[in-house]
Every structure is written in C-alpha cells, then in structure tokens.
Symmetry: C2
Subunit: 198 residues, 2 copies
C-alpha cells in the first residue's frame, strides 16, 4: 500500500468522510503548501496529548479545571447537563446561557450496555452537595435514550432541593408545520406556551 | 484560540469540510485512540515529503519514475492524457485501461491565466518523439476548459502520426433520460453508437 493509499484509508475512518472525499482531501493536502500539511498533521497528532477532560465538569479542555468552570463571570447557581463535550460548544454558540456545564459522557442505553454507573452522574451529585447550585437544566438529546436519561436524573434530583428543567422540544425555528414529524408536533402541542399571560 | 479551535479552523480549509464537519472530526479524533491520531497526523505531515511528481508522466508517486511508467506489463503504445493526478487513480479503478498516462497538471483556462505553456504539453510532445506511442486518448473533463484543451492537443498532435481519441460523452450508466441535462443529451445523440454493425 502506498503512502497515499494509507492516508486515504485512515481519512475515510473519520465521520462523514467516504472514500471519495478522503481521496479528494489527500490530493488537496498534497497540493497545499508544506507548512499547512505539517501544521495540520502536528495538530492532529498532538491533540490527544494536549487535551484532557476537566476534573469538575468533564468537558474537554487544555487546562484543568476548564475555562468555563474557572470563569468568575459565569452564573454558578445553574448547571446544564449535556451528553457530550460537543454539546457544550453548541450551547455556548447560542450565547443564551451563562451558567456552568456538566458532561455526562454518554446516555443511559441498556441496548449498548451503558448504565447510570458508566456516566458521570455521581460527580454531578457531588457537585450539587455544597448547595450552591439552584437549578439543573437537563439538555440531553430529545431521543429515547436522552429522554430516559433525563427521567432518571429527574428522579435522582427530586430530593436535592434544586429546580430541574429540560430543554423545550417542539417545532424548529423557520420550520414548517407541514414538514414536522408527528412526534415533534405532538410535543410542541403538549408544551405549548401561553401568550395571553398568567 | 484553543488547540481544538485551531484544529477545527484548519480542518475546515479541507475540501468538502464545513465548520460543523470539522468540529465533528476534531471530536472524533479526540475520542479515538492515541495511536490512530498520531498515525494520521504523521501521515499528513509527511505526505508532501514522501510524494513527488513522476519525471516522465507527472503523476504523484513515491518512486521516480512512477509504478505505472516502469510497469513492464503495460501497453507502451498508448497514452492517456488527464488533467490531474486524481484522474489517473479514477481511470485505474475502472480496470479498463492498461496503457500509460500523462498528467497535464491543469487545463487551458485563459480566465485563470493558465495557458498551454503552464501545462506539461511540451513533455508530452517529447514523449511522442521516439515514435513508440501510437495512440493518445484525451481524457480531460467534458467541461469548457477540458474541451478547449482537448481541441488544442488535437491540433498539436495532428502532424505527429498518432491516432487521437477522446473519452465518449453521453448519458451516465444507470441514468435517466428525463433527468439528463440538455447538453449531455445532445452529446449522446451526436455521439450515438451504431448497433446494427457496419
């Protein structure tokens, strides 16, 4: 196998990259300047060495504790529980949330052999024990596993004296009733928001 | 900028990779095993050092001359002229061609400031000079630039005593008349193949 073939094979293991894209990328790198190729290669090789998980929230970070956990400007009374590190980034990009995070590192999924013990739920309970956290937003995905995990957390948090909320599920902004699936539409009806005030 | 952000930025410069895919790939690498990340990074960084262009045909190769040029099993009387190295791979995958290749490293494109002198056309004429090559297949893309380059080559090769052919253009196999664009359909009519024999 040639160097190029080996690279194509490795690239096509990346998510969303098929064999054609992999070969296109390989040729692009081949035609790009040496500096770009070396920098990209170096960054990929070093990534896992430079980045670890935050010992408090479980988010990927270069410094431990992570920037969010140490940021004095953030609201420490509220914690948003997400499935994985990527979700932290996604929520951060909305600029809608200024509290802390907690990364579960997965969801409860009996079919995949993942139970509550495999997640960082114990750590979350520890974080709650000092009484400073007043609200927990459960931001697991609106999937069967995400919902099951949310229900499990809700039961667990019931006795902790914190407010528990879940991200609203419903029609996507810019979406069309006609194209919404039945489950989403049903949820958006159940979770309808009063416009006339209390 | 964090290590992760920098990697995402560099990955999103690759063809076909947007910001979302780049971030998905970065997290995938972060969660993959260290060996995979290091190997992939190393391969990318080293790629341009290990691979050069064949001094005969212009194809990317680790050894010079390349494997195809030195392969004693190949038909040396026929040469297929392609725009770029990728096309060699694509044609090789069809298992339909056993001759030699010549990579032009581009197409004639006045708008981009690319003229015949910027391509490896001189080298092609040199290769023809020993009289061993009997047929030249022009396999440039069926685009305006590819067609213009093919016409230019045809004129140049007219006095060389070699047969010159061009890849057939027409309906893609498995395609549907209804969805073919007008130009393609027109070409497939003009280039129709007699089934009744001579």
């Amino acid at each position: 196998m040639t160097t190029l073939e080996r690279l194509v094979q490795h690239l096509s293991r990346l998510p969303g990259i098929g064999k054609k894209s992999a070969s296109r990328i390989a040729y692009f790198i081949l035609k790009s300047d040496q500096h770009f190729a070396e920098q990209l290669g170096e960054e990929i090789a070093q990534l896992k060495r430079r980045i670890r998980q935050c010992s408090i929230c479980g988010n990927f970070t270069e410094e431990d504790p992570c920037r969010i956990c140490t940021d004095p400007g953030r609201d420490r009374s509220i914690v948003c529980v997400v499935e994985q590190s990527e979700d932290v980034l996604t929520i951060e990009q909305t600029n809608e949330y200024r509290g802390l995070f907690h990364v579960l590192s997965g969801v409860i999924s009996p079919l995949d052999g993942v139970g509550p013990k495999d997640l960082t739920i114990d750590k979350l309970m520890q974080r709650l024990s000092d009484g400073r956290i007043e609200e927990v937003i459960i931001a697991t995905n609106p999937t069967v596993e995400g919902d099951a995990t949310a229900m499990y957390l809700l039961q667990l948090l019931a006795g902790e004296g914190v407010e528990v909320s879940r991200l609203a599920s419903g029609l996507p902004v810019g979406g069309d009733l006609e194209y919404a699936d039945r489950l989403t539409l049903a949820r958006s009806i159940r979770g309808r928001i009063s416009l006339s005030g209390p």
